[in-house]
């Protein structure tokens, strides 16, 4: 490592932040682009599991709330891709890499949604898991990314309230409605445990080393479990992991080791809904391809 890079590394590790026009090592820039691009892709792909349910929302209030929530997610994608653009990769290139399968998106968006119960679980627990990661990005060494995270975290907190409200209405409803929530929780627990990634020690995680992330994967998962296990159980729901318990001495949550190979397979495009989602996005991109040509011609 050359002296300038070493100095940069020490700067970010001591809490220093970097702006778009500042000098940065190539590796730092490349890792930022990859990480932030995946975040943008995830916000955008995250729209697909939920969008069908706008059309099926069971009351006017739920329809409005879900439309607003999903609109937020698209807005996040828009903001995040702009940050990537400033780092040198245009939005169109991000979208090309997304639909070709070259770029990744988060594991939870590779799964299908089966019932309205999934809508509640996604808005409550997937967004809760996401906010744990996103809050840690408020301290990201790349300042423009840290700044937009304020707005994103604020909106995600609102989604969690919406999700919890959807769940509360169902768990206090008929037995069938309660059943929809329990089944959805059973489906989503494994993806939720995968969400923060394998328990690689923070100091070996390049994203932590460059202080793009401010905490390790396991630390994030522990925060999620600490915040939500009791809330889930209070509603009478059963978490499908018999080994899940808190070690009161160490304060650490213990759980059945998730299948990390499965996580790797899912995020490399082999999840239950990966191909279908990408095919859908490819197709819808083709259908509206002419619109881009018209708009670009008009702007020229």
């Amino acid at each position: 490592m050359d002296a300038r890079t070493q100095e940069f590394l020490e700067y970010v590790q001591s809490g220093g932040q970097v702006e778009t026009g500042d000098w940065m090592p190539d590796e730092y820039r490349a890792r930022l682009i990859k990480f932030i691009e995946m975040h943008g892709n995830s916000e955008l792909m995250g729209v697909l599991p939920e969008r069908d349910w706008i059309l099926r929302a069971p009351t006017l209030q739920r329809k409005l709330a879900l439309t607003a929530k999903i609109q937020d997610e698209v807005g996040h994608a828009q903001l995040i891709y702009r940050v990537v653009e400033d780092l040198g990769k245009p939005r169109s290139a991000c979208l090309d890499d997304l639909v070709s399968g070259k770029a990744k998106f988060h594991n939870v968006f590779h799964y299908p949604t089966k019932t309205w119960g999934d809508v509640g679980v996604i808005a409550w627990l997937v967004d809760a898991a996401a906010i744990v990661s996103q809050k840690a990005l408020l301290k990201c060494s790349y300042a423009p990314y840290a700044r937009i995270m304020k707005k994103i975290c604020w909106e995600e907190s609102f989604h969690i309230l919406h999700g919890r409200d959807v769940i509360l209405a169902m768990v206090t409803g008929t037995d069938e409605q309660f059943g929809l929530v329990q089944e959805a929780l059973d489906r989503w627990w494994e993806p939720l445990m995968h969400f923060h990634g394998n328990p690689i020690p923070a100091e070996e995680d390049p994203m932590f080393v460059w202080r793009i992330k401010s905490q390790g994967n396991e630390e994030a998962r522990q925060q999620f479990l600490e915040g939500y296990v009791s809330q889930i159980r209070e509603l009478g729901l059963e978490i499908p992991d018999p080994a899940l318990r808190k070690d009161e001495e160490t304060g650490t949550w213990l759980y059945t080791e998730p299948d990390w190979e499965k996580l790797r397979s899912v995020v490399t495009g082999h999840g239950p809904a990966s191909e279908e989602r990408l095919a859908f996005r490819r197709l819808s991109r083709q259908d509206v391809d002419w619109v881009e040509r018209v708009v670009l011609a008009e702007a020229a």
Binding site: V47, R51, A57, P58, R62, T67, Q71
Partner: protein
């Protein structure tokens, strides 16, 4: 049912069903900016529908949700224009623009209603629809600016024109024709309107999907 309730339900059903159709673009619009725009427009429309259903519900002794979700397809009063499934951008823009143009004419009349609730809600709707009109006009400009866009818009407008006439009562249709022809700088076909009261097959399909979650629990369940 009174004429007033009939009017409220016609307006509400138009807004609900068009809002539903606009939501179909969420996540797959040509640009992220359009995703966000159409989601906002859909929220406004669903919000208008809710306010209108609430007025009708007070008269009928029911709730806005029951009116929105629990009627049979034949009981809906929406114009066939909003029922059509046209998940194609030129037709989406053509419908958006034709509907907003017709709606402006309709709301202009309703704002002068002697019924203060109707006049009030029409004025409120018109304030929000003004932004929808700006959005629709911007897209009409964009499409008219290239040969490809112009020909796609023409085909779409011509297809939807009889349906657009059907949004309005007989006496308001000439005004829609005047505004549309002036904007497009061409004559539109002399055709019979596809009026309210008949339904496209797409409405039943839409309602089937829209109510699928709601129907999965007994009537009166909380969601």
């Amino acid at each position: 049912m009174s004429d007033r309730t009939d009017l409220l339900l016609s307006l509400a059903d138009d807004e609900l069903v068009l809002g539903w159709r606009n939501s179909e673009w969420t996540g797959i619009a040509p640009f992220l900016e359009e995703d966000v725009a159409f989601s906002s427009i859909a929220q406004n429309e669903i919000g208008h529908a809710r306010a209108l259903y609430e007025l009708a519900a007070a008269e009928l002794g029911t709730t806005a949700d029951e009116l929105a979700f629990d009627r049979t397809p034949e009981e809906y009063r929406c114009a066939p224009l909003v029922e059509l499934r046209r998940l194609e951008w030129a037709r989406t823009i053509a419908r958006h623009w034709l509907y907003e143009t017709a709606d402006e004419i309709r709301l202009g009349e309703l704002k002068t209603s002697e019924d203060p609730e109707i006049a009030g809600i029409a004025a409120k709707m018109n304030r929000e629809e003004a932004y929808h009109r700006m959005h629709a006009e911007m897209w009409v400009d964009r499409l008219l600016s290239t040969d490809d866009g112009r020909s796609r818009l023409k085909e779409a407008v011509d297809e939807l024109w009889p349906y657009a006439l059907g949004v309005l009562d007989d006496e308001l249709r000439p005004e829609l024709r005047r505004r549309a022809e002036e904007r497009l700088e061409r004559k539109l076909a002399e055709v019979d309107a596809v009026p309210r009261g008949v339904h496209e097959s797409e409405l039943a399909e839409l309602l089937e999907e829209m109510t699928s979650v709601r129907r999965s629990a007994p009537p009166g369940s909380q969601w």
